[in-house]
């Protein structure tokens, strides 16, 4: 990985940088696993909602495309559940500095000055505020919303799942699943909430990717690379 | 011709029948609010109908009805609910107006969408729909005659005294091939009820009726035949409902019509299913001819001297829609109008002249207004505290209709300002007067079998007979649609037209035609791809509506006036008359607002491509 920061080149001056571990490998893995599950779940989810591929080259019902799509959706669904649960656990109780730093971001979150400066920064009005944690308040809110959506998708997904597979896990979760079903006013609504949550997530992700690129281009350090390599470059002082 | 029928606009109704609100209120006044010598009778609930209906009459000392009011006591507001919904959902919502004529609203609503969108449905679809329609008529009319209306004519307690052997012989008097009237059948029917009656729990649903009433006219043996057919009809209605379910998926509330056609293509293309339909059809045809027809002839024979059912009806304006398509453009039942009972001319219906009145209906119309200016928001004013004849003949406290105020959820439709009767009687008379060959033959046969004159149809008995005659026309000829379907399937398997709904366009359309209780029309407007306005103008509304702005009453109320009631605590005569209309009050109570719905404005948009499901 290059030690040259595009940012620095862009501004025409060369600054000495040092590599700092921003993200541990595990952290990066789970990020990309989650990213992958979202992509696969979105694709298969869209298919489940409206089967847009016509598999039938022969009239015999032997090609179980829909069932396969659902199987993939469920497999990745459970992968996502695992990833989200692990990440939640780590954020709340993780020992590594990164997770602690995530926690520290809360301090920035409740600081109105940082909010104003952060907004100002994105609106090209003010400088980037100094942060105590890893995420600025907007970022934090975005990730927080993402998690709400994950859990919504997971809960609604499980409620749908218990009606697809009645044995084992499906059977064990049946009671709680149906409790949620009543809460949401029936299975049709569950499906609808699942679907809408997907859209909300997609929109946040598009913004997320842009912000990641934006920060990578204009930010002071290589957060874009960080999520790939785990490193970022802080100015040497 | 009877001068009493349609009143000219200037002449308020009741000139010859004193109306309550015109009466002086003075020292004679009762707690009932009526002058002395007059008593009010309330009949609520009227049972053995669809919906919630009340009748109130004011009788003199002689037991003759001076004035009559009919009120519907339930409002649901489905037309309001239709607004803003996808046009394809609305027919299913409209279907839930009524579970008795379960198919009528589904079909007419679907047709209104097709009219609006300019869709011509495939011939196969039209014929399948017609076969389903036939099964509705063949279900609805016999069920009405036996289960709903039957016990107004048949006294089942008298049947317990009958001699089954004698009754079995008697049955041959009315048909060559009697059904369920062998001595054993009759004995069994008698035993069923006897066992039932002997149980300490008593008569269950038949308890506390007006058994033994002086206007029951059948002999014990005839009553026993009727009773056996009552039980047989319970079985037959179940079977004939299966006919509709073959193409409709279920009954009540079939589910196989879509805007554009029908969905039951697998059943339509399945010879076993088709045969099943045909066989059941013939089975029911047999019942209609050898039980229903025969019993109506029997009833006509015995009741022809009973004044309460032979009084000539006063409103002799009849309106009918076309019904039961059997060929590309051929219907079994003719459309048109008869005015003032004049059978020499069948008038064309000009739908522009249909209006509504809500002066006495629970909607927000303060003054008597022309319906084009009407408002369809509900305004419920309820009943007033008063008195009426109680179950034991004494005056008791009750909630009563306010004759000068609003008193029903049903509006009063008018044609060119005139009240009209719709229903099988209208349909049969219009078809007869139009020279509809199939109908003329069957009507003439009935008249000769009973020895009654044609004018006898203008009575309560005639109305009940006409319903049977309509069922017979359909039973005898409906399979023409089946034969044409079979023929057409050899060359064409289309079942659904394709179309798209353009969200940028506005559409208007209506579905109109004859249903079991008369002429039904559904009117729709579509805007932004959703229904923006919706009205159903329903048969029972025409018949059961309250007094209009000019003080003119509709068919139900007019039919009751002048009726003599033998026993004020047992108003069987009232029930018999009201039942003769086959009330469907859930149907009747649909807010009618024809403002702007002139038929001339209903432009048909050209059919253009797309897919049925889009």
């Amino acid at each position: 990985m290059s030690t040259e920061n595009k940012d620095n080149i862009h501004h025409g001056e060369l600054v000495e940088v040092e590599e700092v571990v921003e993200f541990t490998p595990a952290y990066r893995w789970q990020h990309w696993i989650r990213a992958l599950t979202i992509v696969v779940l979105t694709f298969t989810g869209f298919y489940i909602a409206y089967p847009f591929i016509d598999p039938s080259s022969n009239p015999e019902p032997t090609n179980f495309l829909y069932a396969n799509m659902r199987a993939v959706h469920l497999a990745f669904g459970f992968l996502m559940i695992a990833a989200v649960l692990i990440k939640t656990y780590l954020t709340l109780l993780g020992k590594a500095d990164t997770y602690k730093a995530e926690f520290v971001s809360m301090k920035d979150l409740i600081n109105p000055k940082i909010w104003i400066h952060q907004l100002g920064y994105y609106m090209f009005l003010s400088k980037h505020p100094p942060l105590k944690g890893v995420y600025n308040p907007l970022q934090f809110m975005a990730y927080f919303a993402m998690y709400i959506l994950f859990y919504l998708l997971i809960i609604t997904g499980i409620v749908l799942y218990v009606h697809v597979y009645h044995e084992g896990l499906g059977g064990a979760l049946y009671g709680i699943g149906r409790w949620f079903e009543v809460l949401m006013g029936g299975l049709a609504n569950v499906r609808e909430i699942h679907h809408i949550s997907m859209w909300a997530l997609l929109i946040i992700i598009v913004i997320h990717i842009y912000m990641a690129v934006f920060n990578a281009v204009f930010g002071k350090n290589g957060s874009m690379d960080a999520i790939f390599s785990g490193m970022k470059w802080n100015k040497k002082h | 011709m009877n001068e009493n029928n349609v009143r000219s606009e200037e002449m308020p109704v009741g000139d010859d029948n004193v109306r309550v609100e015109d009466m002086p209120v003075g020292e004679n006044e009762h707690a009932s609010g009526l002058p002395s010598g007059l008593k009010r009778i309330v009949v609520d609930p009227i049972t053995r109908i669809e919906g919630h209906l009340r009748a109130e009459v004011v009788v003199g000392d002689d037991g003759v009805v001076q004035d009559a009011f009919v009120s519907s006591t339930l409002f649901r507001g489905l037309e309001i609910i239709a607004k803003g919904r996808d046009p394809r959902n609305v027919p299913l919502i409209m279907q839930r107006i009524c579970g008795v004529c379960t198919y009528s609203h589904y079909l007419k609503s679907t047709m209104s969408m097709e009219d609006a969108l300019g869709i011509t449905i495939p011939y196969n679809a039209a014929l399948v729909r017609s076969l389903m329609d036939a099964s509705l008529f063949m279900h609805d009319h016999p069920v009405h005659f036996y289960q709903l209306h039957g016990l107004d004519w048949i006294d089942i307690t008298s049947a317990l005294k009958a001699d089954p052997a004698k009754a079995a012989k008697l049955a041959f008097k009315y048909t060559k091939n009697p059904i369920a009237t062998g001595e054993n059948d009759l004995l069994k029917a008698q035993e069923t009820v006897k066992k039932f009656a002997s149980h300490p729990q008593g008569l269950g649903p038949f308890a506390n009726a007006y058994w033994g009433h002086s206007t029951y006219k059948l002999t014990p043996e005839q009553n026993l035949i009727g009773l056996s057919h009552y039980l047989k009809a319970l079985e037959m209605q179940r079977k004939v409902a299966q006919m509709m379910a073959i193409f409709g998926g279920k009954n009540p509330h079939p589910q196989s019509l879509v805007v554009g056609g029908v969905t039951c293509i697998m059943d339509m293309l399945d010879p076993a299913r088709m045969a099943e339909f045909m066989v059941k059809y013939k089975d029911m045809k047999n019942f209609i001819n050898n039980a229903y027809y025969a019993d109506v002839v029997m009833v006509a024979e015995m009741y022809r001297d009973e004044p309460s059912v032979m009084k000539e009806i006063t409103i002799k304006n009849f309106m009918a829609g076309d019904g039961l398509l059997v060929g590309r453009k051929e219907y079994l039942l003719s459309k048109g109008m008869i005015l003032d009972g004049d059978l020499s001319t069948v008038h064309e219906i000009n739908e522009d002249l249909i209006t509504e009145e809500a002066t006495h209906a629970w909607y927000q119309v303060d003054e008597p207004l022309h319906p084009y200016d009407g408002d369809s928001e509900p305004k419920h004013t309820g009943f007033v505290e008063s008195e009426s004849v109680g179950p034991d003949g004494k005056m008791v406290h009750s909630q009563n209709i306010d004759p000068v105020g609003k008193y029903s959820w049903i509006k009063s439709p008018r044609y060119d300002g005139k009240p009209m009767e719709v229903g099988p009687l209208a349909s049969i008379l219009v078809s007869y007067a139009s020279g509809n060959k199939r109908v003329v033959k069957i009507v003439d046969q009935f008249l000769s079998d009973t020895g009654l004159p044609l004018s006898a149809l203008n009575t309560v008995l005639g109305r009940t007979a006409a319903r049977m005659l309509q069922a017979k026309v359909i039973a005898d000829h409906g399979l023409e649609a089946f034969d044409n379907l079979v023929e057409n399937l050899k060359v064409d398997q289309e079942s659904c037209a394709r179309y798209v709904i353009d969200n940028d366009k506005e559409y208007k359309g209506r579905g109109i035609g004859e249903v079991p209780r008369g002429m039904l029309s559904h009117w729709t407007r579509i805007k932004n791809g959703v229904v923006s306005n919706y009205q159903a103008t329903v048969p029972s509304t025409w018949n059961a509506g309250p007094i209009d702005a000019r003080g003119v009453k509709g068919p139900y109320e007019m039919n009751l006036i002048g009726l003599k009631i033998a026993d004020l605590t047992q108003p069987l005569e009232i029930i018999r008359i009201v039942h003769s209309f086959d009330p469907c009050i859930a149907c009747a109570v649909q807010v009618m607002d024809v403002r702007g719905n002139k038929i001339s404005e209903y432009k048909v948009d050209p059919l253009y491509g797309g897919v049925c499901s889009v």
Partner: protein, 390 residues
């Protein structure tokens, strides 16, 4: 091991039968004022005739003649189950469905199993007499009758949009009064179970489910209408076992509403294969492809239609090629979207005041995504010209 002979089987049967009759005898009689024998005689049956009848019944059930006196005894004590059926804001479709019952048939139901004390579509009494029947039944069978209610209940300001009887009592009041002393309450049809069609937005009459107006437990038997099997089956459960059925989360009997339409569907193989009817009447429709893409809501609907079917197994909506509209689910008129479109195409026009009359979740999603992308592009463009402050 002793092989039980016919005789010993009958012996033990006789014993249990006797025992049951003794127990039944101890229960309070329905009508205290008339003895059964009295009633029988009053209605022209002699004791001899009655015993003859009991003999015939015994033979019909293939029991030895020794059972005849017992049978006569049993008839005397076995009461038909009293039923009160109320009509509220409804279309009578549920009553019609009841009439379609075949096993037991509606006539045998009425004459052999139940005592239909009040049912406005079937009963002969009218007006005051009808009202008396209702009041008497509630009194006489206090705590022992089954209440079945068809229709939603107009509530609140619009409670009096339904009144019945000479006293103009509201439907709500009538159903509350009848609920009080019922042994069990069945809400028949989606109207009564969940409010139904009149409760669909904007619910002009404030119609609510029966369970909203009474504190008594209500068993929901939804469907619009429910099949004859589900109505009568719920009743037969009570008649056969003397108990109420196990219920699901929406208080529906599990025996009928445990599984989804989708789980019992004859087209499920097609679904899993991804073979869908694209347009009504197409080749797929002729071959019985799955109706999901033309709007089937079977995956979200709990009912046994595919198993029990309607009209004595004649058919059901999916067999007729239409697809399920979700008629046994709460608020299905509002939650299931367009009948001929998959759920993802549910319209959201109401929230946008008619502006986006065709708005579905996907369209709204795409629109928002487009707005987002445009915003991003604008932001990026500005950033290219005027980078953020350092």
């Amino acid at each position: 091991m002793k092989v039980s002979t016919k005789e010993t089987t009958y012996d033990s049967l006789y014993a249990t039968f006797e025992e049951r009759i003794e127990k039944l005898k101890k229960l309070p009689k329905m009508k205290e004022d008339t003895s059964i024998e009295q009633a029988i005689e009053e209605n022209g049956f002699s004791r001899r005739e009655f015993m003859k009848w009991a003999g015939a019944m015994t033979a019909m059930l293939s029991l030895p003649a020794s059972f005849t006196p017992l049978m006569a005894e049993a008839v005397k004590v076995a009461d038909r189950l009293p039923i009160i059926w109320l009509h509220m804001a409804e279309c009578t479709g549920c009553t019609e469905s009841l009439l379609r019952s075949a096993n037991p048939s509606i006539d045998s139901l009425i004459f052999d199993y139940i005592s239909l004390e009040y049912q406005e579509t079937i009963m002969t009494a009218v007006g005051w007499q009808a009202e008396q029947n209702l009041e008497n039944a509630i009194k006489k069978y206090k705590g022992r009758y089954i209440l079945m209610v068809e229709g939603g209940i107009p509530n609140g300001d619009t409670e009096y949009n339904l009144t019945v009887g000479p006293h103009g009592k509201s439907g709500k009041k009538i159903s509350q009064d009848a609920s009080k002393d019922a042994a069990a309450i069945f809400a028949i049809g989606t109207c009564s179970a969940f409010g139904g069609v009149q409760a669909a937005a904007p619910n002009p009459t404030n119609a609510v489910a029966l369970s909203e107006v009474t504190d008594r437990p209500v068993i929901n038997v939804p469907g619009c209408p429910p099949s004859e099997k589900n109505i009568v089956g719920t009743l037969m459960h009570y008649l056969l076992y003397g108990t109420l059925p196990a219920l699901d989360v929406f208080n529906r009997p599990k025996w009928a509403y445990r599984l989804r339409i989708h789980d019992l569907c004859e087209r499920r193989g097609r679904f899993d294969a991804g073979e869908f009817v694209e347009n009504f009447g197409d080749e797929g429709a002729k071959d019985g492809y799955c109706l999901y893409k033309v709007g089937c809501k079977g995956p979200y609907t709990f009912n046994n239609c595919g198993k029990q079917k309607f009209n004595q197994g004649t058919s059901w909506p999916i067999q007729a090629g239409f697809g399920c509209i979700g008629c046994s689910e709460p608020n299905f008129w509002d939650t299931m979207g367009t009948v001929n479109e998959p759920l993802r195409d549910r319209l959201y026009h109401t929230t946008l005041g008619g502006l986006g009359a065709d708005a579905t979740a996907d369209r709204i999603g795409i629109a928002l995504l487009t707005v987002t992308t445009v915003g991003i592009a604008a932001h990026a463009a500005i950033a290219a010209v005027k980078p953020p402050k350092k």
